[in-house]
């Protein structure tokens, strides 16, 4: 229920797409839903390596996400963890899986963004809340004793 899958056919070989998806230079060319620019792109494409992308949308809002490369099999598969860095977005960590399959006209790309809003996301979300709630509680405790 809480995952999203998109399939695309692209007229390029899997390795060309793979590099566009995993390298900092590649990511800088496409990350973001509209024609707004990518402001920052960092990527260390190996298992355990991290990436960070910041982009501006045409409505001039800026968003940043980051995560870790969990699996890399050039040129057919890459799995990433994903987290919005900005506080205004969904909290918690989700997972992106991209598979690239060679087809006669190029490549069939399948992207699955999963673990959106599931138990794990919720518990890390609650962890995020706990920090700020602890502060509030401490404050109230002070107020009560004063």
């Amino acid at each position: 229920m809480t995952s999203l899958t998109l399939v695309r056919r692209i007229k390029a070989r899997p390795q060309v797409i793979f590099d566009a998806v995993t390298t900092a230079e590649g990511i800088a060319h496409w990350w973001g839903p509209d024609a707004g620019p990518v402001l920052l792109s960092e990527s260390d494409p190996r298992v355990g390596g991290r990436y960070r992308v910041r982009f501006r949308m045409l409505d001039s809002t800026e968003h940043e996400s980051s995560g870790e490369f969990l699996e890399i099999m050039r040129p057919e598969r890459v799995v990433l963890s994903w987290r919005w860095t900005g506080a205004q977005e969904d909290p918690g960590e989700s997972r992106i899986e991209i598979t690239l399959r060679a087809v006669p006209e190029g490549t069939e790309l399948t992207l699955t963004h999963s673990r959106l809003h599931d138990e794990e996301t919720r518990s890390s979300h609650e962890k995020g809340w706990t920090g700020s709630l602890d502060k509030l509680e401490a404050h109230f405790a002070e107020g009560a004793s004063a």
């Binding site: 809480t2 496409w30 809003h117 109230f140």
Partner: protein
């Protein structure tokens, strides 16, 4: 859920405790915008907690295939009795009642009792909120993949030209 309940308790608290008097000082610290009044801060916090909590409940309710089947049935025929609703399912009535309770808690159905009959109706609003939330991600990825495809295709064309 415990943390969310705590948050809710805190949201309600300043309205009825002297602690409220201490709040402005707390919110003047750098992590809060000075221009936000205490009331508007509480309103934002309250909305965030409620929104996230509602989404979590909706998704949790929708994760179960029997509950989705119940909703699908109600979509075809709304306003049916519990026993009529339970009929096609291979589970006992108490199990159906339990599922209905979860759906009711999530605000996805309403139950109204008249005499001995409980009538179940679909309430699709929370599903719309959940869909909207998913659509944001869909929008992000379909836009990004359009750009990825254009970029990869231009890279591929360049590589071919170089090879010539």
């Amino acid at each position: 859920m415990q943390v969310l309940n705590q948050a809710k308790a805190l949201i309600e608290m300043p309205r009825r405790t002297p602690a409220r008097a201490h709040l402005p000082e707390l919110f003047r610290r750098q992590e809060f915008d000075d221009r936000l009044t205490v009331d508007s801060y509480w309103r934002i916090l309250s909305n965030m907690v409620n929104y996230q909590e509602r989404l979590t409940r909706t998704f949790a309710a929708l994760v179960d295939p029997t509950r989705r089947a119940i909703l699908a049935r109600l979509e075809r025929k709304d306003g049916v009795s519990v026993s009529e609703l339970a009929e096609p399912f291979a589970i006992k009535l108490p199990a159906v009642m339990k599922h209905l309770e979860v759906l009711d808690d999530a605000g996805l159905v309403t139950r109204s009792k008249s005499g001995r009959t409980v009538t179940v109706r679909l309430r699709p609003q929370p599903m719309r909120a959940a869909m909207e939330w998913l659509r944001r991600y869909e929008h992000f990825w379909s836009g990004s993949l359009d750009r990825l495809a254009a970029y990869a295709e231009s890279q591929e064309a360049q590589a071919r030209n170089r090879a010539r």
